[in-house]
Amino acid sequence: MRALLFAALLFPLASTAADLELGLTIKDHRFTPAELKVPAGKKIKLVVSNQDSTPEEFESHELNREKVIAGNGKATIYVGPLTPGKYPFFGEFNEKTARGVIIAE
């Protein structure tokens, strides 16, 4: 009951749409572009498409994000609004090669 009430209270807090959409590609266990410039203070819809046949996990401590992307699959990750700065991300399953950074300015 309390959980229900809590859920009802949270309902008006449902999110608003993203401000802009950006694409990111994984191929040969690398991200392209490896550097993404985004405006600060905006919510971004990041669409990651994995062109490798193996799965990858998009992870970033700085962005507080973590998501598995199937081989030859696509995934949507919402980030931000960000304060200006550098936000590195990596592919956990291929950490040596799969690295990138989001720069908010």
């Binding site: 799965p55 507080n64 994000r65 081989g71 696509k74």
Partner: protein, 276 residues
Amino acid sequence: MFGSAIIVFRETLEAALLIGIIAAATRGLSGRNLWLAIGVGAGLAGSLVVAGLTETIADMAEGSGQELFNAAVLGIAVLMLGWHNIWMATHGREMAAQAKSVGNAVRSGQREMSAVAILIALAVLREGSETALFLYGLAASAGSSRASLLGGGLLGLAAGVAAGWALYSGLARIPLRHFFTVTSTLILFLAAGMAGQMARLLVQGDLLHAFSTPLWDSSSLLPMDSLLGNLLHLFAGYEARPSGMQVLFYVATFTIILAGMRWSRTRSPLRSPQTT
């Protein structure tokens, strides 16, 4: 080899620690091992199914299916953990106080144990599906290093299970007088941390407002990839850069379960002979 061992270890650890704590907390309930085994087995089977359906799940809910699915898994796990703690708040104390009359609690414990099996299955499912995907990726990628990578994966799995076992044995040594206080405190923090993770996923999938991103940044003080940061993350849901929503979920869950435990304790006093 070492790299794949670490990844599998990290994925396994969370589920293994939870199983260790739950196994310790349900010590003395009849048929416990069977229920635990059912939970692990169902979780492993479910992992393979979920791993196979990754793409289908990901495409649901406009690309946020994975977040929704994982948040649901976490949500049910939080409910189960909360229920367990509230149930244990009375029964655990009784069992500790009169070890010989455990038989009574044992009979009423069967429903509780089936909930525990579900809980374990969900924990294994969540971590297991990612491990299965990772290992599948290794197996699918050609190369001479494949065997060594898979060997590393198995090594990581073994290390994760060993860590869970070590925690279980450590907890089992705690005197019965303090035992339920320790396990229920651990579970309380685990549940709150899971609720926080649930909020993080819902924010990541744009299903909930973030409130503030981040609410604070303690990454220079205690980074997530440090040993202490990692341990605190595993046991107490520590985040270096949590969103406001994450903190709200954490605090609310913590408070509600704690209140439930207090309520359950006062409602059924220690001296009452019949407890069902």
